[in-house]
Amino acid sequence: MKLGYFPGCSQTGTAKEYDISLRKVVEKLGASFDEIQDWTCCGATSAHVTNHLLANSLSMRNIALAEQQGLDDIVAPCAACYNRLVLSQHEIQTQPELKREVELVLDKKLGKEIKVMNLIELFIKIGLDKISENKKTELKNLKVACYYGCLLVRPAAITHFDDAEQPTSMESIVELTGAKPVDWNYKVECCGAAHTLARRDIVLDLSKKILDDAKEHGANVMVVACPMCHSNLDMRQRAMKREYPDHKDFPVLYLTELLGLALGMDEKELGINKHTVEFKYNELPADKAAV
């Protein structure tokens, strides 16, 4: 199975391990990627909060390239890119005037809607049975807090993906690895997102609440599907410890890394050694392991 791929900027920088683990896992499951050639940034938060036409033009340039390349559906592993690409297409398809404006900016006629998949939809498309079939290690020592954040599930009326308040699709994937998902309260709370530089205080505060709730509900690891969430929840733990001296390190993995471990790959292969908070499955302290 060959799928269109829009990596997004983070995958080439702060979220390299997400890109590495995604490609390896997809290959193990018998699928491969056809990357959109010469893609640009989707505009991210900064474009849509300051200039509507710029945001839509940047996103639609990528959709137009995908169409030109003959791709029917594309995977956007970053929840923020996924959200921008889905929302932009929705606006273009429902607002003829905006469509004309964007076409003028891009010097291109825009065609049909292209299906954009997030990480969860990707695995559903590949087939969840493939995960079970290829499983090498039962991750029975993990109790997982599945964190969706904001942009995977909202706005539900447009993304048509899972429940906006109580999603469970990530849990159904995590269960296949032998790990045990926990029930907790903060799975769709915001981590502070793009405020990471300008208002680090907010990000530390919100992200700590999310990590604390996961711990309180018995998790020993968090799993995410967004590079921005990951950098706020993992990398920011260093500053969190200074701000809140009682904070204890809590590992945060990309869903692809968790799957990689279950498919028999090791931490280094998957890039888990690039995280701020160390994670080694075989060295999980006994008191953290699930019973």
């Binding site: 983070s10 940047l58 405020h195 990398m235």
Partner: protein, 182 residues
């Protein structure tokens, strides 16, 4: 500022309606948006009150508030609104209008972050973290924050010394020049 003239004057509320295809009068002020807003605690004015200010014609107060800039765009409000008023989209329009009208926003580094981010896209077509951090720090003179995490990221090979550049520079240049605000 008032919109209560016999000859209708084009108002900020009209601008917002044009940008978002929704009428602010939809909101009946139940406050559910502010109750669930993760950043409400940090705001000078609650999100539902920004809507109220626009409804009543207090445009300056709404546009210069820090609230729209603190909105993280998480869309919790839009998801829960009983009137299906898309408040996140409304906030996008308020921010865009504040910039278009040159409103001086209360104590704001967030605007400088967005400018710095978009400048990398304008230059390279893709985001470049080192360029973003350098430009943001020059703009805000906030030099000490994050001196701890940067070396960590460098060692782990997460910060690229050289930006990834898009080959089709012309299309990126056109996108920025054709969408620039006059």
């Amino acid at each position: 500022m008032s919109s209560h003239n016999h000859n209708h004057v084009h108002t900020v509320a009209d601008d917002i309606k044009e940008k978002t295809f929704q009428d602010v009068s939809l909101c009946y002020q139940c406050g559910k948006c502010s109750a669930g807003c993760p950043v409400r605690y940090y705001m000078d004015i609650a999100p539902n009150k920004i809507v109220r200010l626009i409804q009543l014609g207090f445009y300056d107060e709404a546009l210069k508030s820090e609230t729209p800039w603190l909105c993280a765009g998480c869309m919790t409000c839009s998801t829960r609104c009983p009137q299906e008023f898309d408040l996140a989209k409304f906030m996008d329009a308020v921010r865009e209008l504040a910039l278009e009208k040159g409103v001086k926003v209360n104590k704001n580094h967030i605007v400088k972050f967005h400018e710095s981010f978009l400048n990398q896209i304008k230059r390279f077509g893709r985001s470049w973290e080192i360029g973003l951090i350098a430009e943001y720090k020059l703009k805000t003179l906030d030099l000490m924050q994050d001196v701890d995490s940067a070396p960590d990221m460098l060692i782990k090979g997460k910060l690229e010394m050289i930006p990834h550049k898009v080959k089709d520079k012309k299309s990126v240049k056109n996108i920025f020049s054709r969408t620039a605000k006059k």
